[in-house]
Subunit: 442 residues, 2 copies
C-alpha cells in the first residue's frame, strides 16, 4: 500500500486538535443544555427530492448509492443524498414526528454535513455544525428570535476564541421598505443589495435597475437602508428618518428593536443591528443573524441563521421556527490555521506507570487501576525498558507524571517529569493538582 | 409537503433516547480517556479502492458522487465511498500521518459508519461505533491484546446495561492446531468451523471435508477444539489434552493464557476463553474478541475486534495493531426495543421561569440568567399564559421546577411541581437537589 494522501475539502484534525474540538463541542453543548435545548441527531441521508426542494443548493448535494445496487436506483424516486445542512433534516423530522413532540420544541443538533462544492480556502466538503432551533405549531412568538443571540453569545463566550459580534437584521424591514418605496420584487432587490460588499454601491445601483426595475432614487433609498448600523435601538430612528411607511416595515422594526434590546440587557456590545445583512437562503422570513469573530472579519460569518415560516408544513398545519448554526469546522479551521488554539498535551493521560519487568506488569496494572478508579487518566508503560526510556515515552506526549512501583516492599514513588520532583506516594490516595488532571486548552 | 416516512436501516432516536445515547457515549469516552486513548475522527469517506481491498465487504459499500459531477467519476480512480467501519480508515490515517504520530499510538474513535446491506432486525445501514485501537511500528507487544478486555470491561460496566461476558480466542491457536493435525488451508477450516452455530457439528464436518479436505478424524479434532471453553487458564490443559503439537499453537495458548489471566486479575468472570470464536474478518492474526450481553445472547456480539498485523504497511514498515469496537447503535437498539433504558425527563431543563406578562419577560430572563450562571438548566416560559398553563408546559416535559418572579417587590418563589411544595427563593443562591439538576438515566 503506497502512502495515502489527504482528500481536498475533507479535513482531518490531529489527536491534539481533536481534543480541542471536543473541548469546544462540550462547552457548546453545555450552553445549549443550560438553555433547555434537547439533543437530537438525524440520519445522514435524506430523500434526494427533499434535498432538492431549494433549487439553488442542488449543485452541492452528494448522492449515495449501493455499490452492488441498481445504478438506475440512484436517479429514481427513492434516491438518497447526504444532508447539506441540519435545518432541512430537522424540518423533516418535525413533520414526521409532530404527533410525538411537545411544542414549542427546542432542540440542538451537532453533526457533520456534506456539500459537493469545489473546495476553496475556508470551505469544506465535510464539516461539523452545531445548530439550535425552536419550532412551534401554527405560530411562533417573536421573543424566540430575541433569545437566539443570548444562547449563541453565551456559547461562544465560553470558548477560548476571540470575542464575537452578532449582526442582526429583519427580512420584514427590507421587504416592507422596498414595498414602501414602490419596488415590487423584494427578493430580486434583496439579492442585489446582498452583493454590496462584492460589487459596491454603483454596481448594486446598476443591478437594482436591471433585475428589480429600480429607479436611481429607489436604488439610493435601498443603499441608505443598507448603510444603517447601530449597537442599539437607535437604528429604528435612522430607518424612520428615511421617511418610508409600511406596516410590514413597522413590524420588522419593532421585532428587531426587541432583539437588540434583549441582547443589550444580557450582554452589552454583543449584538449590532446591521441592515445590510441579507443571508443567501430565501426561506428566512424574520430576524436573520450573522456572526463575525473580531479580528477575523474577512473570513465571513462563523454562525448564521434566521426565522423561517415555510420550511415545514403538512396540509394546513405549519411549523414556523427560528434557528442558528455555529460552523464549528470553519471556526476551528480558522483558529488552527492562525495557531490560536493549543492544548497542554497530545493525549488525555496524566500518569504513566513504569514497568520494572514484564513479569511485574501485573503490579503496574494494579497501580493504574487504583489511579483510574479515582478519575486519574493513566497508562501503563508499553515496555519494561530502562526507566529513562519509559520517562521519554511520557515526555514525548507531554504526560506530566511517571509512577514507579516500589520494589520488594519499598513504597511507590511518583515523579513530576517537568520539575524532576519525585515523592513517595500511594496509588489509592495520591491526586495530581487539578490543573494537571486533564489537558488544558488555551 | 406530505408526511415523511422513516428510511429502513437508518434509525433515528427521540430526543429522550438521544439523551440516553449521549449519556452512554460520555461514559464510554470517559473510560477510554482514563486509559489514555487519544481522540480521533477521520473523514466519512475513503477512496473506493481502499474500501474494496477486502473483497468480501464490497457489497456493503455506499458510493458517493456529486449530483452535478461527472457520473463517470463515480466509477473512476478517484471515486469515494462511505466508510463501513473505523478500522480501515484508522489504518489509512496511521500510514498517512506516521511521521507525526508517537508509537505505540492509542486512539479512540466514536463515529457513524454506513453499510449498504439489506436491512434486517438488529442490522443497520447507518450506525454508531466506539472503537479503541493500539498500533505500534514494526512489532506490537502481546500485552496490548490483554489490555483490551480491561478497557471494554470498565467501559461497559459504567453503563446502565446488563452485565457482559467477553469471549476470547486466538487465531494462532486455530491455525497452529489445524496445521498440527495436517490441514493445509487454515482459512477454509476456520470459515467452516465458524458456521458451527448455524449448521451444527454434522454440517461442519461435511463442509470441512469439501472445502478444507479434512478427514473425519481431522474434522472431529477441529470440533473438539471449538468445544473448549473456560473462564480461566484451564482452557490450555484442555487444548493440550487433544495431543496436538505445533509452535504457533503454543504461542497462541501462551498469549490467550495471558489475556484470560490479566482479565481475571482485573475483574473475575469478565472474560471466557471460547475456542469457537472465529470472527468473520480475515485480517485478524492473534487474539479475537466477541462480547455477549447476559440475557441478550441471541442477538449476538455487541463488541468485537482482534489483533491485526497486515492492515497498514508502507514498503517495509508495518504497523501491527489490536482493536475492539462497541456497536453503540446495536446495543441501544436492543435495549430501547426491550424498554430497558429510561430517562427521568425528555429535556435537559431543570427550571421553567414563569412569565407574568410579556412586558415583564425581561425580569424572567434575568432570573434564568442567574440560574444558568450557576449551572442550572433553565428555560423561560414561552408564553405569558395563566400560571396553570405554564406549569403544564413544565409537567408535560417532566421538568421538576417552576419559578415565579415576585411581583412588585415581593420575593420570588419556586415550586416543585411533583410535590406541589412552593418556597421563597433567590435566583442567585437557590440550588436544586443534585438528583434533579440533570436528567437521570436508568
Amino acid at each position: 500500500m503506497s502512502k495515502p494522501t489527504p482528500i481536498s475539502g475533507f479535513p482531518e484534525w490531529t489527536p491534539a486538535q481533536r481534543m480541542i474540538e471536543q473541548y469546544v463541542l462540550d462547552r457548546i453543548r453545555s450552553t445549549f443544555e443550560l438553555y433547555g435545548f434537547a439533543p437530537l441527531e438525524t440520519r445522514a441521508v435524506e430523500p434526494l427530492d427533499q434535498l432538492l426542494r431549494k433549487g439553488e443548493t442542488s449543485k452541492e448535494v452528494y448522492v449515495i448509492r449501493r455499490l452492488q445496487g441498481d445504478p438506475e436506483g440512484a436517479a429514481g424516486d427513492d434516491a438518497l443524498g447526504l444532508h447539506f445542512d441540519l435545518t432541512v433534516p430537522f424540518a423533516r423530522y418535525v413533520l414526521e414526528n409532530a404527533g410525538k413532540l411537545q411544542f414549542p420544541f427546542r432542540r440542538y443538533q451537532i453533526q457533520k454535513v456534506w456539500r459537493g462544492e469545489r473546495p476553496q480556502e475556508g470551505r469544506y466538503r465535510e464539516f461539523l455544525q452545531a445548530d439550535i432551533d425552536i419550532v412551534d405549531r401554527d405560530t411562533l412568538a417573536p421573543h424566540h428570535e430575541a433569545e437566539m443571540p443570548l444562547v449563541i453569545g453565551d456559547a461562544l463566550r465560553a470558548l477560548p476564541i476571540p470575542p464575537v459580534r452578532i449582526q442582526v437584521n429583519n427580512r420584514k424591514i427590507c421587504e416592507g421598505f422596498y414595498r414602501g418605496i414602490g419596488l415590487t420584487d423584494p427578493e430580486a432587490t434583496l439579492r442585489a443589495v446582498d452583493k454590496l460588499d462584492k460589487i459596491g454601491p454603483a454596481g448594486v445601483t446598476e443591478l437594482l435597475a436591471t433585475t428589480a426595475g429600480a429607479s436611481e432614487a429607489q436604488a439610493k433609498a435601498c443603499l441608505a437602508l443598507a448603510e444603517i448600523s447601530a449597537p442599539d435601538a437607535s437604528f429604528a430612528d435612522a430607518v424612520r428618518a428615511l421617511g418610508v411607511s409600511d406596516p410590514l416595515l413597522d413590524e420588522g422594526v419593532a421585532e428587531l428593536t426587541a432583539v437588540v434590546e434583549t441582547a443589550a440587557a444580557h450582554s452589552p456590545g454583543l449584538c449590532v443591528a446591521d441592515l445590510r445583512i441579507a443571508r443567501g437562503l430565501d426561506y428566512y422570513t424574520g430576524t436573520v443573524y450573522e456572526t463575525q469573530m473580531i479580528g477575523y472579519e474577512r473570513f465571513g460569518s462563523i454562525c448564521s441563521g434566521g426565522r423561517y415560516d415555510n420550511l415545514a408544513s403538512a396540509g394546513t398545519i405549519r411549523f414556523p421556527g427560528v434557528g442558528i448554526s455555529i460552523g464549528v469546522t470553519r471556526l476551528l479551521g480558522l483558529l488552527f490555521g492562525a495557531e490560536a488554539l493549543t492544548v497542554s498535551r497530545s493525549v488525555p493521560t496524566c500518569v504513566v506507570v513504569a514497568v520494572t519487568s514484564e513479569e511485574l506488569r501485573g503490579a503496574s496494572n494494579r497501580v493504574a487501576e487504583a489511579l483510574r478508579s479515582r478519575g486519574v487518566p493513566t497508562e501503563v508503560s508499553p515496555s519494561a525498558a530502562k526507566f529513562g526510556k519509559q520517562i521519554r515515552y511520557a515526555q514525548r506526549r507531554g504526560i506530566p507524571y511517571v509512577w514507579f512501583p516500589g520494589a520488594e516492599g519499598a513504597p511507590d514513588e511518583v515523579k513530576d517529569i517537568r520539575s524532576g520532583d519525585q515523592v513517595v506516594a500511594a496509588a489509592w490516595e495520591w491526586t495530581p493538582p487539578r490543573a494537571d488532571l486533564t489537558p488544558l486548552v488555551s
